[in-house]
Amino acid sequence: MLELAVSAPLETGAQLLTNEVRANFPWLSLSILFPIVGSLLVPFIPDDGDGKQVRWFALGVALVTFLITVGAYLYGYDPSLSGLQLSERVSWLPDLGLTWAVGADGLSMPLILLTSFITALAVLAAWPVTFKPKLFFFLILAMDGGQIAVFAVQDMLLFFLAWELELLPVYLLLAIWGGKKRQYAATKFIIYTAGSSLFILLVALAMGFFGGGTPNFEYTNLAQQSFSTGFQLLCYAGLLIAFGVKLPIVPLHTWLPDAHGEATAPVHMLLAGILLKMGGYALMRFNAQLLPEAHAQFAPLLIVLGVVNIIYAALTSFAQRNLKRKIAYSSISHMGFVLIGIGSFSVLGTSGAMLQMISHGLIGASLFFLVGATYDRTHTLQLDEMGGVGQKMRIMFALWTVCALASLALPGMSGFVSELMVFVGFATDEAYTLPFRIVIAGLAAIGVILTPIYLLSMLREIFFGKENDQLVSHTNLVDAEPREVYIISCLLVPIIGIGLYPRLMTDSYTASIQALVKRDEIAMQRITKPSALLIRNTSMAPAVISSPRLPMAQSHS
């Protein structure tokens, strides 16, 4: 019975993952190593302590890294293929089964681009940093390489290393440059994430050593293993805790408001723009892709947690009086859609989850940047101490309004498309019983009401109304400078671009998402006794198989 159960997905699922394309040029290794080498050169930059030279150097390195990833996308990546591309493999520690294996498919390529893009903007956002600038830019660049590595590596042990390596810069960036409670926030962050990543190591070892023989941690190899259901469930639970902290999933989220509340603007952009996406990416990569049968059992839980995220975090955000923490909670709320999408078993929903990660990466980064820029002027984050700021800072007001509208999923911007895709994908997908879908869609749609309430209240309290005399007399409310307008415009171009024509982004990864969802669906049908009563155990999925080819994808191939 069991053998039968696992043999079929081997054929279909593994097949989809093994057709890999070798890289014509070591694009990905270069994009990982270049910023790291650049960061190592930072100490040798002649600098008189105020960071003027270092920041130009860092900006140059970050821009070149961005160009390398763009080059990889344009010249080495074919969006119509579902399998691994740009793959490079060098045996590193053969005794341990550790290989330097990098590659990209639809799950990782958009996030690699997002990482290098946001990091370049974060360096620009860090222009005013004058306290220990060398160390600051060293850490930012090291983080750039580490984060690209998280998305690009194709070996679970390597993934664990990259995941851990990227924690250290964040810890230091928080602990040295943060706000008043930075020590507490940084410690909390490191305990939470390091503690939870222990599960990654455990699961990686368990999966790598599975079946005896030489350990092998490569994703392609793990995907072909026939893990038993019990083992899968155990691994899935462990990984869910690890990635749930990162995403974050309520109730594992409490590190985030503290960390975000204390971080400076550029770190903030990286935290919201990229770090949270590592959780979502890993959930797709490992939980949904490598452990499909456990995913079929756990998916309803993901969806319930997603709805809890949306409503719970929206309510806490509404009650928050601290601007940074308010936006931090709104991030948690938006991540709920990622969870629903991943658990939806539909191409559209999962695709929407992916788009929501990209979209939130852009919108979250822009909002957090604006928070930082506003704080530089008002020197307070308490909404009660603001008010009427809009009369002095008109351009800032306009930028805030646009970004807040983007965040509340206004049509024409990326957030709307991604949330809509998740909604439609989940609501029309036959994997769940109708009552469950009605309840979940109804609850998630309450988020549609709650989000504008807290975001527009926030705008009203900061910018509208009479000027707050105390604030105006104590601070110098200068309007946005060109650098700030430029950063926001850079973020808004893709936000609006995706909003107007979503296929600009979705076409780059749909093939991989289709393969992923197909694998999960096949696994779901194999379950003879679904432990979760929510899933309807009927045949399905012909729609996915007969999906039409995308015109844009054809033009590439």
Binding site: K188, G212, S226, F227, S228, T229, G230, F231, L233, L234, V250, P251, Y312, L315, T316, F318, A319, S346, V347, L348, G352, G388, G390, Q391, I395, F397, L399, T401, P411, G412, F416, M421, V424, A427, T428, A441, G442, A445, I446, V448, I449, P452, L456, R460, F464, G465, K466, E467, D479, V485, Y501, R503, T506, T510, Q514, V517, A543, V544, S547, P548
Partner: protein, 670 residues
């Protein structure tokens, strides 16, 4: 040469391009662009003008009998799911295009005069162009999802424009309220769209209607579910078209500049809900129950708006409640299964109500020179009076508007309202009665507005009254406020010209929809027009029409007696005798209070409690764990004996535990 319908996509795109250009200019070169008022106005006006010309060309083609045109492209796709977007040109859309571009163009010209002294002139014009673009996009949307997109965009423009004077607290609150209440409606609309897509696999209007009737026939969708979905979708129009109980945002939205109240909150955006219901007619006509619900909600709205308008002292608020009431009439028509009648009232109402609002803007503009830029003073009719002599054009056009809305033949309002009442009489006689009584109230409150504003002595110089009004509104009397103490004057040509232009359709356009030869119906629904002309009989028409005219005349006479000749004192006669009714109306049926207590404070309280839980319980557990760890570490350090055997024992114990765990949960090696 391509037909106008083939390049109709330019209609929303042209104003959008204009708005984008000036918007980007405002962000990049704020000071320069702000000084270029005339060029910006000319550019945006020509964009909108070109769109208007195209719209009229489209309308002419449709009048000449051109078939509907649809152009689609694939906007998003994933798996088997594809979502086409594009545009559709049909008679209904063509009428709306011409209507919206005309009024938008006139309002823009008017704004040149009205906003002349405002610092945000350029920003205002940019928003106006953006709104026009979104509204035009909404009209030509071929499916529900695209409508939803533009639906939200017009909502956003409304938010930006209501909050235009963002240094006013009232404007800030009103803008937010407008957006959030509309989102409540959109919540239903979104769920309804999702559900209909689930049930029918389609987003376009005809596809949904056909798919749903098929699904009900073959039993894949139960009837109650289909009904629920229809009603959920109707929540969207309820919020947008200010239907009870989601109408609460519209009167507050009068905090925005008056040209906006005319364009968005009287003529176009608020009519979008009615328009959507007309679009969904193939769907709604399958369900008589839905029609009944729509008709009842429309009637309640119609009565509620008129009853509150009776006691309003703020000129714009009075007109706003009148709009609510008239929107109720349109919904009533939709519910009676007479979308053509509803659309006809939408068109006539758009002209005369836009004109009335622009007149009120002209009045406020003049009042501001006397009492200063304080909406509480400049809009209060207790300070007005006698404006007719100083502002002849404004007062004449306002009077025309009053006659039109009261339903006196042959002005526009008579034909459209009478058509609705006639339909209601046949479908739901009880609702007809309410609508009929409301017609009398309408005539009364409109002429009350007219007499209070334009007749009698002028009271704007009365400082005591001003201070009294300010303190009643809870505002301090600030003497540092610059007192203009100017004189009343007629508004500049840019403001009076649109009034004069709008007066023409307000008088004449009703003649296009006479029941015996309705050209309007012939365009929208030729079959119905023929039927109407055939079944028309004077013996049926005259009693009903006579009754409506009679009750309107009664309302007008009462207003004349009370506010012009001062023969009866309604304050003593009614308000003093029935104080509870009076305060019930003056407090707008206490709906704002209920909202405030139930939803606003309720949600705040809930949010605070959740945050409390988050900080104390969820985070508390974390911090407690931290404390426990420190405690246990303190305790454990006494086990640190340095003996290797002891460590080995602990490790061994751990391994045993793991083995047992795996054994229980299932073997890892299968």
């Amino acid at each position: 040469m391509p037909s106008a319908a083939d390049i109709a996509w330019l209609i929303p795109v042209l104003p959008l391009l204009g708005a984008l250009a000036t918007g980007l200019g405002l962000i990049s070169f704020n000071h320069t662009i702000n000084r270029l008022r005339k060029p910006v106005a000319v550019v945006l006006l020509s964009c909108l003008g070109a769109a208007a010309v195209l719209s009229y060309a489209v309308l002419a083609e449709q009048l000449a009998g051109a078939p509907p045109v649809t152009h689609l492209f694939i906007w998003a796709s994933a798996g088997s799911f594809t979502l086409p977007m594009g545009y559709v040109i049909d008679p209904l859309g063509a009428v709306m295009l011409a209507l919206v571009t005309t009024i938008a163009l006139l309002v823009m010209i008017y704004s040149h005069g009205y906003m002349a002294h405002d610092k945000g002139y350029v920003r205002f014009f940019t928003y106006l162009a953006l709104f026009s673009s979104s509204m035009l996009g909404l009209i030509i949307s071929p499916n529900l999802l695209e409508i939803y997109v533009f639906w939200e965009l017009v909502g956003m423009c409304s938010y930006l424009l209501v909050g235009f004077w963002y240094n006013r607290d009232g404007a800030a609150h009103a803008a937010q309220k407008a957006f959030v209440v509309n989102r409540v409606g959109d919540f239903g609309l979104l769920l309804g769209i999702l559900g209909l897509f689930w049930a029918t696999g389609s987003f376009d209007f005809q596809g949904i209607a056909d798919g749903l009737s098929d699904a009900i026939t073959n039993g894949s969708v139960p009837g109650w579910a289909a009904l629920t979905l229809c009603l959920l979708v109707f929540m969207g129009p309820m919020a947008k078209s200010a239907q009870f109980p989601l109408h609460v945002w519209l009167p507050d939205a009068m905090e925005g500049p008056t040209p906006i109240s005319a364009l968005i909150h009287a003529a176009t955006m608020v009519a979008a809900g009615v328009f959507l219901v007309a679009r969904l007619d193939p769907l709604y006509s399958q369900f008589p129950v839905v029609g009944l619900v729509i008709a009842i909600i429309g009637t309640i709205t119609c009565f509620l708006g008129a009853s509150i308008a009776l006691t309003q002292m703020d000129l714009k608020k009075g007109l706003a409640y009148s709009t609510v009431s008239q929107l109720g009439y349109m919904m009533l028509a939709m519910g009676c299964g007479a979308p053509v009648a509803g659309m006809f009232h939408l068109v006539t109402h758009a002209f005369f109500k836009a004109m009335l609002f622009l007149c009120s803007g002209s009045v406020i503009h003049a009042m501001e020179d006397v009492v200063g830029h304080e909406p509480i003073l400049a809009q209060d009719m207790r300070l007005m009076g006698g404006l007719r002599k100083k502002m002849p054009i404004t007062s004449t056009t306002f009077l025309i508007g009053c006659i039109a809305i009261s339903g006196i033949p042959p002005l526009a309002g008579f034909w459209s309202k009478d058509e609705i009442l006639g339909q209601a009489f046949m479908a739901f006689p009880l609702l007809w009665l309410v609508g009929f009584l409301t017609a009398g109230m309408t005539a009364f409150y409109m002429f009350r507005l007219y007499f209070l504003t334009f007749e009698g002595p002028f009271k704007g110089d009365d400082k005591d009254l001003q201070n009294q009004l300010l303190s009643a509104a809870g505002k301090g009397i600030d003497d540092d406020h610059p007192h203009h103490a100017g004189v009343l004057h007629e508004s500049p040509w840019s403001m009076t010209m649109p009034l004069a232009v709008l007066a023409v359709p307000s008088v004449l356009i009703g003649l296009l929809g006479t029941p015996w030869n309705s050209q309007f119906a012939a365009l929208l629904n030729p079959k119905e027009a023929l039927e109407m002309a055939e079944t028309f009989s004077w013996s049926e028409f005259l009693p009903l029409a006579g009754a409506s005219v009679a009750i309107s005349t009664a309302g007008i006479s009462l207003a004349v007696l009370a506010y012009y000749l001062h023969r009866i004192d309604l304050g003593q006669l009614l308000a003093a005798r029935f104080p509870s009714i009076n305060s019930f109306l003056a407090n707008k049926w206490y709906l704002d209070e209920i909202n405030e207590k139930l939803f606003v404070r309720g949600s705040r309280k809930l949010a605070r409690e959740v945050l409390e839980v988050d900080a104390k319980v969820v985070d508390g557990v974390v911090n407690l764990t931290g404390l426990l760890t420190i405690g246990s570490g303190e305790g454990l350090k006494y086990f640190e004996t340095g003996r290797a055997q002891f460590y080995a024992l602990i490790v061994f114990g751990g391994v045993i535990a793991l083995v047992v765990l795996f054994g229980v949960l299932g073997s890892p090696v299968s």
